[in-house]
């Protein structure tokens, strides 16, 4: 089977989720990549170093600069004439573009696969991860999004794959990028961090959240996450949210502070290596998944923990 993988990139860097997607694609057969964007030559060179990649298509145009689905999907559809499967990481970009590609190809999409069970058989989570479905496709071509935390990252090799330009149809004139507010932080990125410190509604307000959670995260070199309740209450921006509809994370260590553990939150972090929970309610559901739980008032326990580490 010949597969085409969407390269997720940001600030001229290939994002790790791409390498996990390559691992999933390699289980199906040969892997080629598509880098779309504006001024993405260095991204293509970097992507070409991912082990196991046969060829990198590069589609460069201002029209592809912000991965607008209306402009990018036709590029993928055109390329798919030569491929049996398209795979994208299940990031907000991948989730935006892939179903558009699937519909244009008249095939079903298989969302957020967790494993490859056969050439046409995959597992995927349903009901916020409370059930796992094994599905088999009967479509001529496959369109798949990949849950990055479920697959190892493909290695970076030394020999670069060939890079070939591809024009695509350009701007189809339906949508325009206006602007973005992208958070800049010196902390590790949530989806690739080894340690995450996450706070919930119990943190009271934005300044208490910052004063309690950030010193601990800084001490551990950890990324900072939050429950939906904390984001809804405005303690932190939306890109901190871990859960079914936020980010899916699987760090080595996840420290949940003042998070009760709603199923929608657990869906986003229960594949973490070790889960530590601090909560004053000893019956909080978070303790049912935590390897280590401390029943305590977070406002005394967390500063003490930060001081003693």
């Amino acid at each position: 089977m010949k597969t085409l993988v969407w390269v997720e990139h940001e600030n001229s860097l290939v994002k790790d989720a791409t390498r996990s997607t390559v691992t999933a694609a390699a289980k199906l057969g040969e892997v080629d990549l598509l880098v779309a964007g504006e001024g993405v030559g260095s991204v293509a060179e970097m992507a070409a170093l991912i082990a196991g990649v046969g060829k990198v298509h590069i589609a460069e145009s201002p029209a592809y600069g912000h991965a607008l689905a209306e402009n990018v999907a036709p590029v993928i559809v055109e390329l798919m004439a030569g491929y049996d499967a398209f795979l994208a990481p299940a990031t907000t970009t991948g989730k935006n573009i892939s179903p558009r590609v699937a519909a244009l190809l008249d095939v079903a999409q298989i969302s957020e696969i967790l494993s490859v069970e056969g050439e046409r058989t995959f597992t995927r989570p349903i009901y916020a991860g409370n059930a796992i479905a094994t599905v088999e496709s009967s479509d001529a071509k496959l369109v798949i999004t990949v849950r990055a935390t479920a697959f190892e990252k493909a290695e970076i090799g030394s020999a670069g794959a060939a890079v070939a330009s591809f024009a695509g149809p350009g701007d189809v004139g339906l949508s325009v990028f206006v602007g973005a507010e992208i958070a800049k932080s010196d902390r590790p990125e949530l989806t690739s961090a080894k340690i995450i410190v996450s706070g919930g509604r119990a943190l009271k307000d934005a300044s208490t959240f910052a004063a309690t959670i950030l010193p601990l995260a800084d001490k551990l070199g950890a990324a900072v996450g939050a429950s939906r309740a904390a984001v809804d209450a405005g303690y932190v921006p939306n890109d901190y949210q871990v859960g079914q509809t936020g980010k899916i994370v699987a760090p080595d260590v996840y420290i949940a502070i003042g998070i009760s553990g709603a199923i929608q939150h657990l869906a986003g972090m229960k594949d973490s290596g070790i889960i530590v929970a601090i909560n004053k309610d000893e019956d909080a559901p978070i303790f049912q998944v935590a390897n280590f739980g401390l029943v305590a008032d977070l406002f005394t326990a967390v500063p003490e923990l930060t001081a003693k580490l």
Binding site: H66, P99, S137, L174, S175, K219, N238, D252, A296
Partner: protein, 248 residues
């Protein structure tokens, strides 16, 4: 301007789903069902646009069993004007749903279609994008802000890195994220009034769409269970554990 809002009847947000012992799916017998939370946000957004004087009619549509009339009535009680139920007991995939919605959209001719970004049962997150593709229209997915601006809609999207704003030429498709709005509760008088609003039921066969599934569900299983761990006595014990696992 007309707004079309597709809504899905799903397991209630607060119910923990149970996998059937024969592995054929999730047990929905005698389980509380509700409007998909993201779709409720879509209904609310359409009503707010209408209340701002920028829309004239809100049509809600559901594709599902006869019982899905309940979620349509809820949407009517919130403030939608009329409803269409495409009745079927089949479990349809997003591609089939998008094809049916395309047929409805061509008939209703909305300037804006607002859908939930995903249904909390199959978690597919596909239908809006697929509908946009089939209609060759632009899509503003995962919206946290929607502004109608003449012949355009400006959509702020929740993306992995933060927020992104795009401008789409109408007619367009928008899918909702959690923070777009907080849906209202329907008042008792409005619930009574909703019973008299038009709700048209038609058969799936009348839509002229091939809804044959492309995916076969071989089995549905429980996820691996994470064993609950231990409770530690105090912060010192936690510090010792964090040092042992090498994070401090």
């Amino acid at each position: 301007m007309k707004i079309l809002v597709p809504v899905k009847r799903v397991i209630d947000y607060n119910v923990k789903p149970r996998v059937k012992s024969d592995g054929s799916g999730v047990d929905l017998a005698n389980v509380k069902m509700s409007i998909n939370p993201f779709d409720e946000i879509a209904v609310e957004e359409a009503i707010r646009i209408k209340e701002a004087g920028k829309a004239t009619e809100i049509v809600v549509v559901s594709i599902g069993p006869a019982k899905a009339q309940d979620v349509l009535r809820s949407a009517l009680a919130m403030g939608a004007d009329r409803a269409i139920l495409v009745e079927t007991d089949a479990d349809l995939e997003p591609l089939a749903v998008a094809k049916i919605l395309k047929a409805i959209a061509l008939e209703v001719a909305p300037d804006l279609v607002i859908l939930g970004k995903q249904a909390i049962d199959d978690d597919s997150n596909q239908t809006g994008q697929m509908l946009a593709a089939l209609l060759a229209r632009p899509q503003g997915t995962f919206a946290s802000k929607v502004d109608i601006d003449g012949g355009h809609v400006v959509v702020t999207r929740e993306v992995d890195g933060g927020l992104e704003t795009i401008r789409l030429t109408l007619p367009a498709i928008v899918t909702t994220d959690l923070r777009l709005n907080e849906p209202r509760y329907a008042s008792l008088p409005n619930i009574m009034k909703a019973k008299k609003k038009p709700l048209e039921v038609r058969a799936l066969a009348d839509c002229g769409v091939d809804a044959t599934p492309r995916l076969k569900v071989l089995r549905v299983t429980e996820p691996p269970v994470r064993a609950g761990g231990v409770k530690v006595a105090d912060v010192d014990a936690l510090v010792a554990i964090l040092k042992e696992v090498g994070v401090a």
